[in-house]
Symmetry: D2
Subunit: 327 residues, 4 copies
């Protein structure tokens, strides 16, 4: 539920509304635009809107979507997330680059230096890898987080890595991982969402390959309603009948989410295609449709990568792509 | 990899093969049929089959599927799981029934007594509910497990309940929940699979709504390769373009899995349709296609249920269905 | 729109309603049950229901679905279609069997005699084959229709064959093909539907692999609203993300269509699976879910078939299946 | 099969290869690049490549894809289709614009003049409309073609209109419709493809909403192998589980088809989204990914359109979009 204040509402009038909200056991969320909006957090379906018609109040309305805090109705201003000097959701598209998995120090550092040189804003790399088969390479674990932190120290690129369950939170805190990635298969791991919702650390939430836009935004709502507003959405391709590529990147979702939500949204053309040669044109499309950035897999030697060898760019391809983007 | 012993192989010859397997750091899995098969567990892709050609060995072959221990090649005999007096995967279809969620003592007990009377073999009920929206009813938690255990004491029906993450294992042990259900959205929560793989407790693994048969069997492989062989598979409907019902029950998958795997497989027509009137005919189809049982949602008062009200049978409908099945 | 007459309405009162309907340019459809329903055919969205409240009228209601004549609301009695001595939609499941394609006289006759012996009710065989590739076998054309008619003469089995476009109608009339099959890829070939709607000849309408139940019933509505009420629906599997089998047979659709429509519906487990070993269990499921019959591909020598070799049963398999069904 | 001539092969050597091809009953397709490729049209699967190893021949290879003439292997040079002064597949993205359906003279002319002013290259409008329901507006038929031809005379924009079946070919010839559109639901209407393959007239072939890229290219192969090489492909969105928009535009397909085929491919963001506000960003994405153009629905008064009112741009929106594209 949203209380819209009049343009000339006084601080005192606002405080009375805020107190009323707290009095009945809810939490307010204040958004100062031309007029001030006071969102009421939580499940307000049983609240009577009339109790908020006080002096200075222009109107009260219900949020029409099942997600609340994620919606533009509730928070019209675009969310910009600052990570060091980088702004996600700001005025330029952000590029997150790095290997599928952290394999060893040399591999990560070579790649990190290369993507830094090419102009990447953040460095990605998986230490814990969710794999369909128990017999596939599962990542090098904590060692991978340590290598990432070292690479950050050397390149000054903030780092992004996937967290697989809530018992790993302390570990990710220990290495001060800048952005916690929640993978596509964990998008509806609700206990993980609730636990990460307790933190303030930025989160990169990937859309499940068969999740609707509404389900995706409701998973983000788990994070926001638990207290973490630093959520970056990521479209990474959906599962369809087509087998010629790994997934279908859903640019419709990007365009629609930009209408519905204030959260930044980026695109992952590596998982979204699974084919190296397709990554570059789809990166261009992502930027053209209005995404706030891309996350691309880059490896200094893709042919010897321990996972997703077919979809990783080499450093030359990455740098060429970056030059085209800047132009 | 599988070592097929000759029909007249001696115990000593067998032991030599078993010792060889252990010597090179692998674990054997023995299956006595007409001839004895000795499966070699784990990722054997780099093993040379020739090292096993010893006296008494008929042949050595690689398992052709990415899953090993789940496959019929590795373990040709059908797995039968005993829970109290009930056998899943045995000679009759098993019926698991109960409400979507445990709401309170009265609701569960009334329903449990009804389904027991109707002829159900196990009682189901969710204490922890994974819900798309953070604002939906999330289950009553530990209290629900306690109520389930009480209902078991009164009806002598073994109980099935969903576990949402590995930190809940102790709680499920405390109430001695007979079958741990891994929900569709957790089918690829690999850390949960590995943790439950450490137990011996029977597991009901639901197929993800967009998971392929191969992905489903690979998730089961996580459980078996971690040591838990008491796995019941459950087909609960897949996500398609169709919106007239909640999901499409995939009976092709049931027929195919019965060809590929020795594990029992049951069908959930409640989630597979989402529509009460469709549950009964699809239960008949499940049994006809050869499923080892069904899991149906039953509530003594469906119209007042806190979740999935539209798909739960009432007790009269359930009893009628049971009479038809028996006929 | 439906006019429901009172139980004691007189013939004269009924005639007045019928005349009123004709007067305003519509056509009535009369259904005598306990009370008489008079359906008003065509697009009645702009009609005022009040004009039909005359003596003897109990009530007037709009049909709530986008399809009208196909719905049970409009025509509550189940449609039974007679083809020779066979009844489709009657009291027993009908079995339509025969090869994917008519290849030559010997192949068809051998197969026809075999399926007749096994207990099939109708003989199927494609003379014109819609193929994804222009380089695949396209059927033997008119010659195939002739061979089918000969086989009918010898076995007395009525014949079913696919018609690919409306210019072929005369040809199908010439050989008096008993049932015109409209293939899945032509389900929304609306000009073909309108043309065949002009005939009285029974039609077997296959569901498109990505058509919703509503789209399917609206395609049937094209036939009924053009005048042909002898429509048999056929579920033949839908396209999903799964690649382990050709399609997923949608039994949910069968159960739902039986609730929504009076038309008979059969299942095609051959195209619905694409795998010979799966045809038999899915045939059992089709009958259990309540389908009015099945259509299965049978070939006296499947391994040498010119199309769909992997999904055709041989005669021994077919006869065994028929014995099980009868039991 | 492709015969690759040596760079220094003589005209005489080439002729000998060509004669050989004709001698054995096939047709050659010659493509002069740096070296000359001689494609052998039709199903060459049973041909022995060795018979073409003559003087001047560098090598003989099979085309690795099921489609031949559509592939870049067979015809490496990009196909450019000229329609009046417009080039499709050339150096700039082409814009086809106009209403969903031709409704009347005034509506079409107003819209045509508006899109001309905005910078459109071709005018589209449906005279025959394939509709899911028999009760929906089916187009105004021949009258619509006449109105289109008049609008062409006044604006000099070439015209595109959908042909629903092969019996309409004469009618489309009568009004000299510049581009014959084959709709998504007719993509696998093979008799229609064969008939239009006999013409030289440019064809716009829309991808079926559930057709794979391979099926799509094989439908194009029906046209090329029948003799019509003037084929423009059109991606118009695929059917998925998502219901927030009408379809999902598959930009992966666009990028992949540009790798596989020499045919031009355009994108239809109107059907691909079904939502007016999403058409503009997805048009930008289409151009960025490398499409040869877009087809957008524009109506001078969208709110009163007889079909697809929600997805048509008005003239102001269209002109703004065109200004952005040019920038």
């Amino acid at each position: 539920m949203i209380v819209l204040m009049k343009r000339d509402a006084t601080k005192r009038q606002m405080d009375r509304v805020i107190n009323k909200i707290k009095e009945i056991g809810f939490q307010p969320h204040i958004d100062h635009g031309i007029s001030t909006l006071i969102g009421i957090r939580g499940d307000t379906s049983s609240l009577d809107p009339n109790i908020f018609y006080m002096d200075g109040v222009e109107g009260v309305k219900r949020v029409s979507k099942p997600y609340k805090e994620v919606s533009k109705e509730f928070h019209p201003k675009k969310t910009v997330i600052k990570i060091g000097d980088v702004e996600i959701g700001g005025s330029y598209p952000v590029v997150i680059a790095g290997p599928c998995a952290v394999e060893d120090e040399r591999q990560l550092l070579k790649t990190a230096e290369g993507v830094k040189e090419g102009g990447a804003h953040l460095l990605r790399g998986g230490a814990f890898k969710p794999r369909t088969s128990p017999y596939s390479f599962q990542g090098i674990g904590e060692e991978g987080l340590k290598i990432l932190a070292d690479a950050r120290a050397k390149t000054r690129l903030p780092i992004v890595s996937e967290i697989m369950n809530q018992t790993q939170i302390d570990l990710f805190e220990k290495y001060d991982i800048d952005v916690l990635q929640i993978g596509a298969r964990n998008m509806q791991n609700f206990d993980l969402l609730k636990a990460i919702g307790q933190l303030k650390r930025p989160v990169l939430l990937k859309r499940g390959p068969s999740s609707s836009v509404e389900e995706f935004l409701l998973s983000a709502e788990y994070l926001l309603s638990s207290g973490n507003r630093n959520v970056i959405l990521c479209e990474r391709g959906i599962k369809t009948f087509e087998t010629a590529y790994r997934n279908v990147l859903d640019f419709n979702a990007v365009a629609l989410i930009k209408e519905l939500s204030h959260l930044p949204i980026i695109v992952d053309p590596s998982h979204g295609t699974g084919i190296q040669s397709m990554v570059v044109p789809l990166t261009y499309a992502a930027i053209a449709v209005g995404a706030d950035g891309v996350m691309v897999e880059v490896h200094y030697k893709p042919q010897s990568a321990k996972c997703d060898a077919n979809q990783q760019l080499n450093l030359i391809q990455f740098k060429e792509m970056m030059r085209s983007i800047i132009r």
